[in-house]
């Protein structure tokens, strides 16, 4: 385990006032806010920042941490000395289990005294609910899937220290799930205290971004390229969709942008979504003599001016 320099994480001096720490935290919270940040590792950095703030913004924890920090450098191999925290009493009896799940081993070892402090007789508490994101392909929402989710689970060893352990769950992703929807796994959250029940685990579903599809609720939109003659004359075409290849009837006289609705071909569910196919007329390149000749024939023989209707101005 490496020693973490929380001052470095927040980018403040060791002498920083509580106000400076708060300001530095807010600045970083804005920078790494997962909803807006463009940094690739925003979520991870935000966890670090939260962890550093949890220690440095709490006078008792900061004092205890400062005593330890005198002997260590950032990144140095670190084992907490026995009874390093003697003489300190952390308000609230350490940290909530939910925090521990999101914080580093380093933090959990120093401040994860929940088990020790929470040894009051007859005291029962339900475990915290936990949250995780799961990314699936759109096709998985059509057919259902199984995903392995790996979570860090804090647990107490015989000495009451908190260790973190990896726990892998194979989770069934039900058919018909929508982006942003949650799956609740009962009893898979934080462990309860004093024999209390475990919390729940909420998995938030996200779809892998796919340039072919746009999803709105259970409706799926996709663009399908067609030839000018298919659009003009009408045709029966085959196109790949998330539920497999389907035949689509292109009505004669279609233009680019025309939307065809395939009822019930969206994401399945109690009220299945629809699949909207947007036609995109693609012109063949005029890159051979023959192709140029055909375009010239059309130019001569078709009385067609697409700007006429708009009352084109010179």
């Amino acid at each position: 385990m490496e020693f973490k320099d929380y001052y470095q994480v927040l980018g403040v001096e060791k002498t920083a006032t509580p106000d400076e720490i708060k300001k530095a935290y807010r600045k970083l919270a804005r920078k790494f806010h997962p909803d807006v940040s463009k940094e690739p590792d925003a979520e991870l950095r935000m966890q670090e920042v939260n962890e550093a703030k949890a220690v440095l913004a709490d006078p008792e924890k900061r004092l205890a941490y400062d005593q330890l920090a005198r002997q260590y450098r950032s990144g140095q191999d670190f084992q907490p000395p026995p009874d390093w925290d003697a003489g300190f009493e952390f308000s609230g009896g350490g940290f909530e289990e939910a925090d521990l799940g999101e914080f580093s081993d380093f933090f959990a070892n120093l401040f994860g005294q929940g088990g020790r402090a929470g040894g009051r007789r007859g005291y029962q508490m339900r475990g915290e609910d936990r949250h995780a994101k799961v990314v699936i392909d759109l096709e998985d929402a059509y057919h259902g899937a199984t995903r392995a989710i790996t979570l860090q689970v804090p647990r107490l060893d015989a000495q009451g220290r908190v260790l973190s352990r990896e726990h892998t769950l194979n989770v069934r992703i039900p058919k018909g799930v929508k982006a942003g929807q949650h799956i609740r796994l009962s009893g898979q959250g934080g462990p309860g205290m004093g024999g209390g029940p475990a919390g729940d685990l909420f998995l938030e579903i996200h779809f892998t971004p796919d340039p072919l599809y746009r999803v709105e609720g259970r409706d799926v939109h996709q663009r399908v390229p067609v030839t000018p003659w298919e659009a003009a004359l009408g045709a029966s075409i085959e196109t790949p969709t998330p539920s497999g290849v389907v035949k689509v009837k292109v009505p004669a006289g279609s233009q680019s942008g025309r939307r065809l609705r395939l009822k019930g071909r969206g994401i399945p569910g109690p009220e299945p979504g629809d699949l909207y196919v947007e036609l995109e007329v693609v012109l063949p390149p005029a890159d051979t003599d023959r192709a140029r000749e055909l375009y010239e024939t059309m130019a001569q023989e078709l009385a067609f001016d697409p700007r006429q209707r708009r009352g084109a101005r010179p």
């Binding site: 194979n170 989770v171 069934r172 949650h182 729940d200 685990l201």
Partner: protein
């Protein structure tokens, strides 16, 4: 080969969350949720607390508001405003992505 156990859960929306369940999932007290509903920051269709039920979208929204309030000591209205903008931004990004105007 070892047989791996597969865990099944329930899909929120098919089973909606009660007030207590939503509060617990956000690590807040029920009063926190009630106050934000009364201020019109969190959606609910019914005027009767006992029949309040919450969807996946409500859960995401409540957690986001809660995080913004906590991280920036923001007023609930400001956190909800930022949340509205984030949601709108996500919808527009989704459309841009589908139109091939942005990647990822």
């Amino acid at each position: 080969m070892t047989q791996q156990r597969i865990t099944s859960g329930e899909l929120i929306d098919e089973a909606t969350l009660t007030l207590e369940e939503l509060a617990r999932a956000c690590s807040v007290e029920a009063e926190w949720v009630i106050e934000r509903i009364e201020r019109g920051l969190l959606a609910d269709g019914s005027p009767y607390v006992a029949s309040w039920r919450f969807t996946s979208h409500d859960l995401t929204r409540a957690r986001r508001i809660c995080q913004l309030e906590r991280d920036f000591e923001a007023a609930p209205e400001l956190a909800a405003l930022a949340t509205d903008l984030i949601e709108e931004n996500q919808r527009l990004k989704e459309r841009l992505r589908a139109a091939g105007l942005i990647e990822g």
